[in-house]
């Protein structure tokens, strides 16, 4: 005799309306009496309905994991297990998706098959940090479930004070704005720190994110400790015939109001012949004109990344956006990618050595100051790191001459390198 479906009058109200209903999905699972998870999902629905009645959550954490790993499983035990015993243990396995969240149906179906055997049949695609979340696994099923998921090719993601799973935008796979191989960079960096992901022992969480351009489709700047953005250092590529075609189609007023005047640094000007003039030295690579005139404009050819450090959400000192630490790193051949990895290693080492317990990267930098952080990771200061120079005089400057000498030497070396490159 199958367990009866729970009464869920409040949740039932979320089955009406045009948007796909998660409640209908939960009910489909609960009604699958031929499946091992049906009774678990009935109790899960019962507990969720209780939350809707009392406006309280009923999950608590605990310690559940898989052999060899100290993270990747989020334990959930019910505080009202006596009433809803079948969903008393409802753990999540955080599973890392293929970079860019591309799937063949064969892969996704295999994952569903494994999850139906060991878990609840409920999957979030995807969690805010970028994981596939297999939600609803009993303690004794966690290891066998992971073993099968792992044999399919998937690995577990991060949790707690460790490196977390990452997100990249669709990027090079289907976007002409992409300025680097996001999937390659993501795999290189994250996979280099799997020890810090699977056996977390950092001061607190550490997130990498990768966006192919300043549009930041991966939402990197406010949500990652190490945010990588695609950019370029030569000129925007312009097809003037396509510019004229755009102006002819949309009109001069539209073009001036929505492209020329929207340039944040007034780097654009429409010529009398409806071609476009660009002051590339003033361009900040914001992407607006390129987004709008997709046929006429594209990022330059000398591409790389801008690395920003220290973004985070509220806990505990308030929200922070990441700030520039590497204005431009060329990212084209394998040696360039290794340099990006070197930077990540230096940042990680410094963070491990210097952050306080439960202190995010951005909070640490605020505590010690950007200059000390830069010295620690062996990165030279750059005017692109600031909105403006300091406005107060409370600083001891008796090392001024040495700093000036460093700057002069750097500029000379850069000029030499540029001359050499031009000669070649």
């Amino acid at each position: 005799m199958p367990k009866p479906m729970p009464e869920t009058p409040l949740l039932d109200e979320l089955e009406s309306g045009p948007w796909p209903s998660f409640v209908s999905g939960l009910k489909r699972l609960a009604a699958s009496d031929d499946k091992p998870y049906a009774s678990m999902m009935k109790d899960l629905l019962g507990q969720l309905e209780r939350s809707y009645e009392t406006r309280r959550g009923y999950w608590k954490g605990g310690t559940v994991g898989v052999s060899g790993y100290g993270a990747g499983v989020i334990p959930r035990f019910s505080e009202i297990a006596s009433e809803f015993p079948e969903s008393a243990e409802f753990h999540t396995l955080r599973v890392i998706p293929p970079a860019g969240t591309h799937y063949s149906t064969a892969l996704l179906r295999s994952l569903c098959d494994v999850w139906e055997k060991h878990g609840s049949g409920l999957i979030a695609l995807h969690g805010q940090t970028g994981d596939i979340m297999l939600q609803g696994c009993r303690s004794e099923k966690v290891q066998p479930c992971f073993d099968e998921v792992n044999e399919l090719g998937f690995d577990l993601g991060g949790a707690g004070a460790g490196v977390r799973s990452s997100i990249s935008c669709v990027g090079a796979a289907r976007c002409e704005h992409s300025c680097f191989d996001e999937a390659k960079a993501m795999r290189l960096l994250v996979n280099n720190f799997l020890d810090e992901m699977h056996r977390p022992s950092l001061p607190y969480k550490f997130k990498f994110k990768f966006s192919g351009c300043a549009n930041d489709c991966a939402n990197a700047i406010a949500r990652s400790d190490f945010a990588v953005f695609g950019t370029w250092r030569d000129d925007i590529q312009v097809d003037q015939d396509e510019v004229r075609a755009y102006v002819a189609l949309h009109g001069r007023k539209w073009t001036i109001d929505n492209i020329i005047r929207r340039c944040p640094t007034e780097a654009l000007s429409l010529n009398d012949d409806d071609s476009l003039e660009i002051d590339n030295r003033s361009c900040v690579r914001c992407m607006h004109c390129i987004n709008v005139m997709t046929k006429a404009l594209s990022p330059g050819r000398d591409r790389g990344v801008c690395v920003l450090i220290g973004g985070k959400r509220t806990l505990k000192t308030g929200d922070m956006l990441a700030t520039v630490v590497a204005p431009f790193l060329r990212l084209q051949d394998d040696a360039d990618y290794e340099k990006l990895l070197d930077l990540a290693k230096r940042v990680m080492d410094f963070y491990i050595e210097n952050a306080l317990e439960h202190e995010r990267m951005g909070e640490m930098i605020e505590r010690i100051g950007l200059v000390n952080f830069l010295a620690g990771i062996e990165v030279e200061v750059d005017p692109n790191m600031i909105n403006h120079p300091r406005t107060n005089s409370y600083v001891r400057t008796d090392g001024w001459d040495e700093e000036v000498a460093k700057w002069t030497a750097r500029k000379l070396a850069e000029a030499d390198a540029a001359a050499q490159a031009a000669a070649e």
């Binding site: 796909p20 939350s51 406006r55 999950w59 591309h102 149906t105 002409e176 690579r285 914001c286 317990e357």
Partner: protein, 378 residues
């Protein structure tokens, strides 16, 4: 089964330890990390990886990309419920098998994307998605899917649900998802506690607690590492105390900002309350560096009741803000850019939202949010 050859205490350095023994009996994980997406990528995307030339948006929910090679791909984007049952996922796989060569992908906002190699394959795919109840849209200047968190369904610290709030709002925003009538894209987020896993949004709906935690003194010493909890408080309002003869913690309620930071490391610091945990609305968060620099979202409304199953008070204010923006912003202005142009005084006037002392920040660094000029909007 004997797992250990010798007790841990007898183990000497350099000797094969008990860990190796345990692992010999259990399967070792394959630490594959992030897997290569190429085998799971639509062949058209694989072939033209990194060589795309331009794109256009022929209609809401459809993207058309052209590669340097001349190959073209049409992408159809549809909304999902994110929290999906295997039946829904298999249905989406069936659609991909029938119409899109057996491949699909997801956006960071839980929209699904199917890729096809010719324009005439778009309409039948859209028809099938709509028949199956998946709204096609979410591209360009539309309201895309709300990014949301776990809530009562699965989190251990939430004051509200996430999926239910999002379902209610997306029902109300269905037209704005399936059409592209906004000045620019609108990204909405929700979070079930003040940690705000939902992130920055043009409009954000986040829990805001209004009362200090109620402490279960019988449990504190058993389940909490007290110094860690003391250290977690942003205002140093928590201190160790003996209560009823038991080691516990106490909160200086004049200092407490009711943020709930103490609750995750110490569940007996009960912050969640069915009445006093409210919802607040924030606007003007922006990740992109496009045109204007990225911005954090700003508080505009608070004190809204946490009112399941459909949170009507929240929907009402979100719609009010959204339609003020839709009616007033110029093309390409994001929420923050629109407000930057018209000013906050006009924003509160247009939305009819009250402006209170709580809108003025007095946290660290807050002087930067004050108007240090003689520029006023009257």
């Amino acid at each position: 089964m004997r797992l250990l050859k010798q007790p841990l205490s007898e183990r000497t350095l350099g000797q094969a330890g008990p860990r190796e023994d345990i692992l010999a009996l259990q399967r070792r994980p394959i630490e594959s990390g992030v897997i290569d997406p190429l085998p799971f990528m639509h062949p058209l995307l694989r072939r033209n990886y990194g060589t795309w030339k331009w794109h256009e948006r022929p209609r809401p929910g459809v993207l058309h990309h052209v590669a340097e090679s001349g190959e073209e791909v049409w992408t159809v984007r549809a909304g999902t419920q994110r929290q999906m049952d295997v039946y829904t996922i298999r249905k989406l796989c069936d659609i991909a098998d029938a119409y899109a060569d057996g491949f699909l992908r997801f956006t960071t906002r839980s929209n699904i994307e199917f890729m096809v190699d010719s324009a005439d394959k778009v309409a039948p795919l859209i028809a099938r998605l709509e028949t199956e109840g998946f709204p096609v849209g979410g591209t360009g200047n539309s309201v895309t899917m709300i990014s949301h968190t776990q809530g009562w369904l699965h989190c251990d610290i939430p004051a509200t649900d996430a999926s239910g709030v999002v379902k209610s709002l997306m029902d109300a925003l269905y037209h704005e998802f399936t059409h592209a009538e906004m000045p620019n894209q609108v990204k909405i987020t929700t979070s079930c506690c003040q940690i705000n896993c939902g992130g920055q949004g043009d409009i954000a709906i986040n829990v805001q607690h209004t009362k200090p935690p109620i402490i279960d003194h019988d449990l504190v010493a058993k389940v909490c590492e007290r110094p860690a909890v003391v250290a977690r408080c942003p205002t140093a309002a928590i201190r160790p105390a003996m209560v009823n003869g038991k080691p516990s913690l106490e909160v200086d309620e004049t200092k407490c900002i009711c943020c709930g930071a103490c609750f995750p490391p110490c569940p007996p610091m009960r912050i969640n309350d069915p009445v006093h945990s409210k919802l607040a609305i924030w606007v003007g968060g922006k990740h992109s560096s496009t045109r204007s620099k990225p911005t954090l979202h700003k508080l505009v409304a608070a004190g809204l009741p946490n009112n399941p199953p459909r949170w009507p008070e929240v929907t009402e204010i979100v719609l009010k803000i959204l339609y003020a923006y839709k009616g007033g912003a110029r093309p390409y202005e994001r929420m923050a850019e629109w407000i930057g142009r018209i000013g906050w005084a006009r924003f509160f006037e247009l939305t009819g939202l009250p402006f209170t002392k709580y809108h003025i920040d007095n946290w660290r660094g807050s002087r930067g949010s004050l108007n240090a000029s003689a520029q006023v909007r009257l």
